[in-house]
């Protein structure tokens, strides 16, 4: 199925969880936060949230700031 990851369309396995998606893309789930269709996914729930066709996922991290 197709989803959007950080604005780009990608192909992923059906019923993939947010945690699996992060692992596939090398995002350490302790250092990044996932947002699915504008919902911030708590770290405790990332293995339970299953993605579906057309979902928009954003992976967020810290960057330098004042």
């Amino acid at each position: 199925m197709k989803i959007k990851l950080n604005g780009s369309e990608i192909e992923v396995n059906d019923n993939i969880s947010v945690l699996e998606l992060m692992k596939t893309k090398n995002f350490d789930s302790t250092k990044y936060v996932a947002i699915v269709n504008e919902d911030v996914i708590p770290k405790s729930k990332i293995s339970e949230v299953i993605l579906k066709e057309g979902d928009e996922v954003e992976i967020i991290t810290m960057m330098g700031g004042g």
């Binding site: 995002f27 810290m62 330098g64 700031g65």
Partner: protein, 260 residues
Amino acid sequence: MENDILVIGEVEIKNRLIVGTGKFSSYDLIPEIIEKAKIDMVTVAIRRARDGIQKPLIDYIPKDTKILVNTSGARNAEEALKIAKIGRELTGSDLIKIEIIPDTKYLMPDNREVIKACELLANEGFKPFPYMMPDLVSAKEMVKAGAVCIMPLGAPIGTNKGLVAKYFIEMLRNEIDLPIIVDAGIGKPSHAAEAMELGVDAVLVNTAIATAKDPVNITIAFSKAVEAGRLGYLAGLPSEKILAEASSPIDEYLLGFLRK
């Protein structure tokens, strides 16, 4: 000085110099600065991750350092709340620096939206650190809305102009019963000492450190200036006078001896 510990939102901040992590030529400088200047709290922003391969900023921040996420990018209170929720997931901390800046030329914070954000975020369990234009009426509203400290600007972000807003910051110091952190505009160590001598509780420096020729040593200099300013304030600064006053008044004997 030993018992002079700063506590904001139930968190102890051991060094009154808080350092921003923006604008560094390399993240490699950050752990060195934190270690050598004994920095206890840093600020960070959040953004979309480029990929999972590049080492993220969090890997450069020593584990026991307190991380204060800012809401930069927010133009109103609702956007600040969205960023705060992401920040809390990243750090596991309720501390959040509210930064709401609709103006791109002078980067002026929108006090009205910051007041709204303090209330919105405090209701969601956050401990707001509001970055604000030093204005006593707004600061009082922020206190009422649940802020845990007040962060007035010294001068606009990145200008290195020092305490342009000094008189208004003094007003906050005299009237606000919460910690005050001077944020933005601090361009050199003497500015930081000057702020601390006013009796504010901490200063936040980013641009002046990140863009210095030697960021590590300037952080140490800032840290010493903050400590000196704090000690000076606690010791009690003398008042200024218009007329001169001799340090060693001449006694009558000497006067007679000289004028004979």
